[in-house]
Symmetry: C2
Subunit: 235 residues, 2 copies
């Protein structure tokens, strides 16, 4: 790691700064490599490496023949930014992921219940219904479930948690897919607790929403705990 | 985004899987590009792009002339994985970052107080002392402060929060450095509350540790709130 890699890191930061300062929107095309090289006063190969670094973070996308673009949605979100794949003890990891959710989601559900607009409630109800339908059709409901929890987080107005929560839920999913029985984790209870959460938000009842969220997460965690006690390990 | 980029993403995932399955440790050297190309049955240019993607996520490091290595510490941690730099409303962002900390850190401090070993307590006390000394010498104490909070999180045994918390604290710092007065945020109070937290952990008093952490975060947030009420904006 010499000066070259230091220059690349610095250029990556300056390129980020350029994107932010120029208020580039998702889908925008970036200046060419040559233009960026003149703009930031570094060589084209340095620009190329900086662009690659931002492609690696899902911030930029290079479309062959058309140029470099700011990615469309979920800017900067990479699949496993915490490197959780490197954690060996998946059994402990799933409890610790649920501990993060237990700390965050009841508070967030309470705020969402307080401030939810009619439009928010419509979307929340639709996502809960779609999750239910997918469960009842024996489909993989984790995507819809993640969207529902993310929408509740987004309704709360917090800027960080709607980004954080899907990362946690995706990590949880990658563990759960390892095990068939865990996939069956409290499907009917999920429907029941989702309904409770949605009803409380609709009634603008913060304590009810927080309680329902605690029940939802505690029930899931307890199901997993009982299962591990029986079988000892993730099969 | 055509098949080429799909193949690169897939190869990136397989390369991660290779690292995990072969139990490569931080600092380990990876096989050469040619070897990886034979191993994963894809072209060398695809391997090169996959390596670049993992370099962009701070998982790999290419050392000119010596090869590709797994990075030494804080595997996979990138500076701003949530893309928080893209959030325009820095004033709201700092409150929302502190809300995440308020949800997580008191619970974590309580667990740390319950389970801390004598060695953990020694390290926690040392970090608190170093933070104090840096504050008293008018230095930038945010690094030591982040280490202290991360050590408390690590003591709790949770696998996710010691990774998450420094990301939140670094984001908070990048906002605070924009403003001179915010840098003065409750320095003496920080010393006072850190001492309270450390004392409670040392006494294995979970409720005391949680209370002290609530006080610490609430005080900081209230300081920032009063400051914004006065000046209206981040200067």
């Amino acid at each position: 790691m010499g000066t070259a890699s230091h220059l690349i890191n610095q250029t990556t930061d300056r390129l980020m700064r350029y994107i932010i300062d120029n208020n580039l929107q998702a889908g925008s095309k970036l200046p060419t490599e040559l233009e960026l090289s003149l703009l930031l006063q570094v060589g084209r190969s340095t620009i190329r490496e900086a662009v690659k670094a931002l492609v690696g973070r899902n911030i930029l996308e290079v479309r062959q023949g058309s140029g470099t673009f700011l990615v469309r949605e979920q800017i900067g979100i990479i699949e496993d930014p915490f490197g959780l794949a490197f954690i060996k003890n998946k059994k402990k990891l799933i409890f610790d992921l649920l501990e993060v959710r237990m700390a965050i989601e009841p508070r967030i559900a309470a705020i969402a219940a307080t401030v939810a607009s009619d439009d928010d409630i419509t979307v929340i109800k639709k996502l809960a219904e779609e999750t239910e339908n997918t469960i009842n059709n024996n489909g993989d409901y984790t995507q819809k479930d993640t969207e529902l929890h993310a929408k509740i987080a987004q309704t709360s107005g917090n800027l960080v948690i709607p980004i954080l929560l899907p990362i946690i839920q995706r990590a949880q999913r990658t563990i759960i897919v390892l095990s068939r029985p865990l996939q069956e984790v409290n499907k009917q209870e999920t429907i029941k607790f989702h309904r409770l959460i949605v009803e409380a938000i609709e009634k603008h009842d913060p304590v009810g929403a927080a309680d329902a969220m605690v029940l939802h997460i505690a029930y899931a965690r307890n199901f997993i705990r009982c299962y591990f006690n029986e079988i000892g390990e993730i099969p």
